[in-house]
Amino acid sequence: MSTISRDEVARVAALARIELRPEELDRLAGELEVIVNSVAQVNAVATPDVPATSHPIPMTNVFREDIPVAPLDRDKVLAAAPSAEDGKFMVPQILGEE
């Protein structure tokens, strides 16, 4: 179908927040090309009249009651954090505003 260029891989890697080394970029571009071409064949059979299935077992309306449960132990949680301060998770400065 389409060619996956090195640039394309770089774009997707940025979208996926994965830093790739240059040799990784090269290798991936080649591998992905092969894989994507082979899977593109699904297009041939995926005609408009065929509905998509996202769940193997059809079910609807699975809800839970609005009743509180015990929260996690904060100490336990922060103990596993890379960095914490004042009961909060410490992360490096965030550039992109939301």
Binding site: N61, I67, L72, V77
Partner: protein
């Protein structure tokens, strides 16, 4: 914060030249007891990270389960906004990386919202009704809270690091999106404000949220674009975030109109971007460039199954909907006999509920309005508190009014009694009794005072006898003084006239 000089065009000039088109996205936090997809509690102001489960913290292996009450609340909102309720809808993942989004995706709804194609009739200050068309209302979850630390102003730029509290992560939200709001013209700022206010009132009436803007229960993002005329195609829009009050909404729209008009007048193009509203100097400033093609890679949430509200359930919810504010206002205007202007003043003062309660306690609507919009409103303003926080209850006002109507006290004493109630001295009845404030109702007692007074003022008696009513006030005043004000002035006047024989 930008300190560049920004060109603005005078507002009236701007709207004479350009046609503003609005788009408003409102997020409301639902007042459920637990989060959207897990049973963590939601109380405001808890210790950081003490209201999280593996699900709301986004830990590996955790799975979401939908809060059924949140779904019901979302349907209530959809119905109140005259929307169609989806026969079946799904959740979708909105994928983006941001530290306050624990899974680095938000579970939201994409092309299958729970409610869609509705409208809201908004009443403007002068009574005009403006219809805002609603594209959709959908369910989603809130993110955690960042606190930026280290920079000079504590804002993102220049901060050394951020501290994150995930207590808010996962709180249920409903997002309401309007279709482009056209035809507001110069009233666009007002329409925007009134729309969000009306929504807020509805949320409270529906009991789906405390809906306090200052607490972030209700958040508005305002989109604005200008075009040379209503027939022209839509212009480029900006999105302004961080508008935290109704007043800010109105001002932000106004500002953007002025700013964009200046840009267009200069022959430049308006940049499609997100802007931030600054409360301190009433301006917007550039945020990051907004691209409509943000690649969120939406796909149906595989960990959740579709929500398919049965038509029976929807009708049950519809039947149980409380009376909506606009409908209620119409009804009360009729029942109470207020004019539109009087009612609007009551609403704007936030006095509707408390007047309702007072009327329910037995007071006439007119009297209730007089007390709450008069004396008590003044009191509230002086103390800089909300009307509802004034130290007197509707029941007490009712008691006070009854005392006056039954003529056991008069208006002046009534105000005295009110002050005593406000000072915490007890209920009106007990204050009157304790302080002996009841007016003299015994004619005999009054007459003796009157006779004394008349005897002391023979020349005035002569004047009145000869037809000059003017000085009678002095007699009445003297009688009132002698009775320490505890007399019905009307009755005194009658008796005086009787006595004088005029």
């Amino acid at each position: 914060m930008s300190t560049n000089y920004v060109e603005l065009v005078d507002y009236d000039e701007a709207v004479a030249k350009y046609d503003p088109v609005l788009g408003i996205e409102v997020h409301v936090e639902l007042g459920t007891k637990t989060k959207m997809f897990c049973g963590a509690g939601v109380e405001f102001g808890g210790e950081p990270n003490t209201q999280v489960t593996p699900v709301s913290l986004g830990l590996p292996g955790a799975l979401p389960v939908v809060n059924g009450t949140a779904v019901e609340y979302a349907i209530r909102i959809g119905l109140a906004l005259n929307c169609k309720i989806a026969e079946t809808c799904r959740f979708a993942r909105k994928n983006y990386f941001y530290p306050d989004v624990p899974k680095n995706f938000q579970t939201s709804q994409y092309d299958e919202p729970i409610a869609y194609d509705g409208y809201l009739d908004v009443e403007l200050d002068d009574g005009e009704i403006f219809r805002v068309n609603i594209e959709r209302a959908h369910m989603e979850e809130d993110a955690g809270k960042n606190t930026h630390v280290g920079g000079a102003t504590g804002r993102i730029q220049g901060a050394d690091h951020s501290l994150i509290d995930y207590n808010r992560a996962g709180i249920p939200l409903v997002e309401i999106v309007t279709r482009p709001i056209e035809g507001a013209g110069a009233r666009a700022p007002e329409v925007a404000r009134a729309y969000v206010q009306t929504l807020r009132d509805i949320f409270r009436a529906l009991d789906v949220s405390e809906a306090r803007m200052e607490r972030g229960n209700v958040r508005a993002d305002v989109n604005l674009s200008l075009r040379p005329s209503p027939e022209a195609p839509l212009g480029t829009r900006t999105e302004t975030k961080n508008v935290n009050s109704f007043r800010s909404i109105e001002r932000a729209v106004r500002y953007e109109v002025e700013r964009q008009a200046a840009v267009l007048d200069a022959g430049e193009k308006v940049l499609q971007e997100t802007r931030h509203w600054h409360e301190d100097n009433n301006t917007t400033s550039s945020g990051r460039e907004k691209s409509d093609a943000e690649d969120y890679r939406y796909f149906p949430e595989p960990d959740l199954v579709p929500v398919a509200p049965s038509r029976e359930w929807v009708e049950e919810i519809r039947a149980a909907l409380p009376e909506l504010p606009a409908v209620k206002r119409r009804r009360l205007i009729g029942e109470w006999g207020f004019t539109d202007v009087e009612m609007r003043d009551v609403i704007n003062a936030g006095a509707l509920e408390i007047i309702e309660e007072t009327v329910a306690a037995g007071t006439s609507p007119a009297a209730a309005r007089k007390w709450w919009m008069g004396e008590l409103a003044r009191n509230a303003k002086e103390q800089e508190i909300e009307l509802a926080e004034v130290a007197v209850t509707p029941a007490q006002i009712n008691e006070l009014q009854s005392l006056i109507e039954s003529k056991r006290i008069n208006d002046k004493i009534g105000r005295q009694v009110l002050e005593a109630v406000l000072a915490g001295e007890g209920n009106p009845e007990e204050i009157v009794v304790k302080k002996g404030l009841e007016i003299v109702s015994d004619d005999g007692a009054l007459l003796s005072v009157i006779d004394e007074t008349l005897a002391a003022q023979p020349d005035i008696v002569e004047k009145v006898k000869s037809g000059n009513m003017g000085p009678i006030g002095a007699i009445i005043g003297a009688v009132m003084k002698a009775t320490k004000g505890q007399a019905d002035a009307g009755r005194v006047r009658e008796l005086v006239l009787e006595r004088i024989g005029a």
